[in-house]
């Protein structure tokens, strides 16, 4: 049967899974997406937004490679705006609120319309593995699907368990069964697993809040897109978001009910939660001196009856949650449609992977998304597209792709994950990217579309658009140089509009802005490239796979353990492992030098 003979099997229909399946099928490999409920593909189970600081850049990068997320988000955007507009082009980031039902529908439509991609309903319980690597998957109902490449994108479903006070449920997310068997199967294959925790806030009824009591955040009046391929028209009405804040009454309720918290009083949760997404309990306890915390009230769709209560993630019992919500200005009379909860799930340390996201343990097996300990839709999708491309290329006997830290946030993330591992759910932050002046929203296409084209993900229409932009940009840049406009453009107070009339031919706003950014940052970019060149030299020193760190007494014990466990591929990635000091790198370099010499002269 056709289903039993795919080139790539993707397990899971979230952001990671759909990018992986979409990319693999686009590259011409017969692809099978196995998911628990094909109607619940990309439901955006947590917050309703896509993008944000550093995450927005990731969406642009996925789009530049030819991925789906940017176009899906643009088609469902009900509130979009640039963050950090005043803080500079390198950190400017697009964030958009989604109409959740549209996103789900658009994702399903995209997959169904993709030739070579088949969606199958089923819970995968086991991997079929032989001496040569992975051979396929076995479903809970006993059915098997065979393929030489399997991409696991199981999200929070592995051993998923949700908590609301002392109510514990075996769930992958709200109301959906977890994957218990697969978690055990991975351990049986030798993979270590660890527990992580995340949470989601309550949802309240849209018609039960007093908007006048809250601060309003307006969306951009201009159509803002992640993808050049998206329509220039708004997909629908643009809606505001609202901001309210907690007060002493809210905090007292938290403190009085702490004994009913599964995390604090009941001590039921063992998983490690993300610091950047703390529960309201965490905020009140750890930042006791803050008299109030901001709470963001966001729509979940054009027609959705619910509002998302951002910043209010909690696992306290439902009755306490409602009481707490009623202390917030504007929410005094709100009705809660769904309680918040904490979810604990299994992850496999990403140090089990190489830079292609293939596991070192089993050939042909790829891990992506929350399974690798990341959090966030964007992070998941980015790993999905890389895993999908690499699985498909491996199926075709082609070489894997790698995105360098200096080429994209995607490269930073994957290098961080496989090189350092994670201690808490990993979220992308601009602070993680040492070359962030180069990794901008505006130049994502220049950085990655040529790679996407080379892979075969970028079709002719997208490539033509890219070439037109690239040509216009480089012509405008040489014009600016020729007309000696660069000095003026470098002045911080000068924006493109000030010099727009001097350009021939006239530029559209976006190209003009890109010219201004390129000119303003050219000096910095040049220096950055020199740094990258220096780093590349360390990057080019490869460490043999079987290198014996234990034999080097000079390394600190910590460095020895970390290096032995993580086995970095190069001296450069060795140096980025926490606990590995420059002295350790110097020692390693001496030993590698010595080893290489001994190898040459036996």
């Amino acid at each position: 049967m056709k289903e039993d003979d795919a080139g790539v099997i993707v397990v899971g229909g979230g952001h990671a899974g759909i990018e992986a399946a979409h990319a693999a099928a686009r590259l011409g490999v017969e692809t099978l997406l196995v998911t628990g409920d094909p109607e619940k593909i990309c439901t955006l189970p947590c917050n309703p937004s896509i993008g944000g600081s550093a995450k927005g850049q990731i969406v642009r990068e996925i789009d530049a490679l030819g991925g789906a997320m940017g176009m899906l988000a643009d088609a469902c955007s009900l509130h979009a705006r640039f963050l950090n507009e005043s803080k500079g082009p390198a950190v400017r980031a697009l964030r958009a609120q989604m109409d959740k039902p549209s996103y789900n529908r658009a994702a399903i439509a995209l997959l169904r319309g993709q030739p070579g991609l088949t969606i199958v309903q089923g819970m995968v319980e086991e991997l079929i593995v032989d001496a040569s690597g992975v051979r396929g998957v076995r479903r809970a109902d006993g059915r098997c699907h065979r393929a030489g490449r399997v991409v696991l994108a199981t999200g929070t479903f592995l051993g998923g368990k949700t908590f609301r006070g002392d109510v514990i449920a075996a769930e992958g997310r709200f109301g959906e069964a977890p994957a218990i068997g697969l978690s055990a199967a991975l351990r049986a294959l030798g993979f270590p697993t660890r527990r992580l925790k995340t949470g989601t806030p309550p949802r309240i009824a849209r018609d039960s809040v007093d908007r006048s009591a809250m601060r309003t955040q307006l969306p951009s009046a201009k159509r803002l897109r992640f993808s050049y391929r998206s329509s220039l028209d708004f997909p629908g009405e643009q809606l505001p978001c609202y901001v309210t804040e907690t007060n002493e009454r809210t905090h007292r309720l938290v403190r009085e009910n702490l004994h009913r918290s599964p995390l604090y009083g009941l001590d039921l949760i063992r998983g490690i939660g993300p610091r950047y997404c703390p529960s309201i309990e965490d905020k009140v306890i750890k930042f006791a001196h803050n008299p109030s915390h901001q709470i963001f009230i966001e729509p979940e769709g054009w027609e959705e009856p619910t509002l998302y209560v951002g910043g209010f993630s909690t696992s306290l019992p439902s009755d306490v949650q409602l009481e707490m919500l009623h202390t917030l200005p504007g929410l005094e009379l709100c009705s809660m449609l769904r309680a918040g909860y904490a979810v604990e799930y299994d992850m496999v340390p990403p140090t089990e992977l190489d830079e292609t996201l293939q596991t070192r343990r089993i050939a042909g097996l790829y891990h992506c998304g929350q399974l690798n300990g990341t959090s966030g839709y964007e992070e998941a999708a980015a790993q999905g597209i890389v895993a999908g491309i690499n699985a498909a290329r491996a199926a075709q006997g082609k070489s894997a792709i790698r995105i360098a830290r200096s080429e994209g946030y995607i490269g930073v993330m994957i290098d961080d994950l496989v090189g350092k591992g994670v201690d808490e759910p990993y979220r992308m932050l601009s602070s993680r990217a040492e070359h962030r002046l180069l990794l901008r929203h505006d130049n994502a296409d220049l950085r990655l579309t040529p790679l996407g084209r080379q892979m075969g993900l970028v079709d002719d229409a997208m490539w033509d658009g890219f070439e037109r932009r690239r040509t216009a940009l480089s012509q405008a840049l040489s014009f600016a140089h020729k007309e000696r406009m660069t000095k003026q453009l470098r002045r911080p107070e000068i924006v493109f509009a000030d010099v727009a009339s001097r350009f021939e031919p006239q530029l559209d706003d976006e190209t003009g802005e890109r010219v201004a950014i390129e000119v303003k940052l050219s000096g910095y970019a040049e220096r950055e490239r020199e740094t990258i060149e220096r780093a590349r030299r360390l990057e080019s020193v490869e460490i043999p796979e079987a290198f014996d760190y234990a034999g080097i007494a000079a390394l600190s014990r910590e460095a020895r353990e970390k290096l032995s466990a993580q086995r970095p591929r190069t001296l450069g990635s060795a140096g980025r492992i926490p606990g590995v000091t420059p002295s350790d790198v110097a020692i390693l370099s001496v030993w590698l030098h010595r080893a290489a010499r001994e190898h040459e002269m036996p």
Partner: protein, 428 residues
């Protein structure tokens, strides 16, 4: 004298009598035997067994009598017993490779070995105690705190307030000033460690050699003889305020260009060029002639000590030189020599009393790190002054912190992120 390596025990059996009396970590009075078994010297021998030794290998430490003849004989006996001479810094290198010392400590140990004078030995000891590392850490932590505010506002614009550029710049200026003071200690550290070189130049018979001998005579107890690099320049070392001062005498080379061999001029000029200080000796009893004026002109742009010799014999030249504020007197007068030494101290280390308990930069790597940090900090402040958006400032600060990290060896991004979470309540 130390021997290190896996062969130490075998060598000790042949070199030390009775070798059976050696116990790890215990001092033993032994005799050292030459290759035929004849005793060379009575010595204290201490055996350190791997890994509990300085190098992490088996080490035999011998305390022999100081005579160069005995030292040479003991060395020859150890070579005969299977040892080989260590390459420069090899002990430290082995200690480093065996995990006994950190890289920065290794550098300080290297300096300690190289220290020839009391001052530089004390300087090396101060930094070995970590005073420098603590000072750098303090400045680095202050910078990190500032970057956390900036990076927090960038990554969490909804939750972390924007920074106030004026307050931010004031804080940066303060750190910049402190780093600047630390950098200034770098030159001092170099002087203490490596000393200064002084080229003695002047016409024949002006008294260059007598000056050299007089300075050496005063400091005889501290002189260490170093062979001259060429036959016609003589290099001798003295200590002033505990700093090594290498005196390079260009005696034998006459400054009258018309009567000089070209090679001679080149050597003098090179010695002059490479020296930190020019000590110009002129005959104060005579009027200045053209070549002497030329020497004065040639050295006018650099650290210079002008000595007007033989001023007790008459003051024809001295009057003409008065504008240059020379030391005037005779090499035979104690007060004249004291004035010359003070003038060298002024020119070499600005006469600063060297407070070695204070942190100071000692190695080229440390100086480079602080300079890189200062450069980045200057650029960071320039972006604020120009009104540039803060993404540029954040980048420069990250570079500054990374540069200082080279001294202490940490990573920037994770620290900043940790700091943001510790300080700001974040999360939607």
């Amino acid at each position: 004298m130390r021997l290190s390596g896996p062969g130490v025990l075998a060598i000790a059996e042949r070199l030390v009598q009775p070798s059976r009396s050696l116990r790890p970590g215990r001092a033993r009075l032994v005799s050292i035997a030459d290759r035929k078994g004849a005793a060379i010297d009575r010595a204290i021998a201490i055996l350190w067994c791997a890994p509990h030794s300085y190098t992490g290998e088996d080490v035999l430490e011998l305390q022999v009598h100081g005579s160069p003849v005995i030292v040479r004989e003991v060395l020859e006996a150890s070579f005969a017993a299977g040892a080989r001479p260590a390459k420069p810094g090899e002990f430290t290198h082995r200690a480093f490779l065996n995990g006994k010392i950190e890289l920065s400590a290794a550098q300080a140990v290297g300096d300690l070995i190289a220290a020839e004078s009391r001052a530089s030995a004390r300087a090396a000891l101060a930094n070995l105690g970590g005073a420098l590392a603590r000072e750098v850490q303090r400045l680095r932590a202050a910078l990190r705190g500032l970057l956390e505010e900036l990076a927090g506002a960038i990554d969490f614009p909804d939750e972390v307030p924007d920074v106030d550029p004026q307050r931010f710049d004031a804080a940066l200026a303060q750190i910049e000033a402190q780093l600047g003071r630390l950098r200034a200690t770098g030159e001092l550290g170099r002087v203490m460690r490596e000393g200064v070189s002084v080229a003695i130049v002047g016409p024949p018979n002006a008294g260059k050699s007598s000056l050299l001998n007089a300075l050496l005579g005063e400091e005889r107890a501290l002189v260490s003889e170093v062979a001259g690099t060429t036959r016609d320049t003589i290099e001798e070392s003295i200590a002033i305020d505990g700093v090594i001062v290498r005196l390079i005498d260009t005696a034998g080379i006459r400054m009258h260009a018309d009567r000089l061999e070209a090679a001679g001029i080149a050597r003098t000029l090179r010695a002059l060029d490479e020296a930190h200080i020019a000590l110009v000796v002129l005959d104060g009893s005579l009027a200045l002639d053209e070549p002497e004026r030329e020497v004065l002109a040639q050295t006018s742009e650099r650290e210079r000590v002008l000595f007007c010799n033989k001023a007790d014999l008459g003051d024809t030249g001295a009057r003409e030189l008065a504008a240059y504020a020379p030391v005037v007197g005779s090499v035979f007068a104690h007060e004249t020599l004291a004035a010359i030494r003070t003038a060298i101290a002024d020119a070499g280390w600005h006469g600063e009393s060297i407070d070695l308990s204070r942190p100071h930069l000692a190695t080229a790597a440390e100086i480079a790190a602080v300079e890189a940090a200062l450069e980045a900090l200057g650029l960071a402040r320039a972006t604020l002054a120009a009104g540039d958006p803060v993404d540029l400032c954040a980048g420069e600060l990250q570079r500054a912190i990374a540069a200082l990290g080279r001294v202490s060896g940490e990573q920037v991004a994770e620290e900043i992120i940790d700091g943001i979470f510790a300080r700001f309540c974040i999360g939607k």
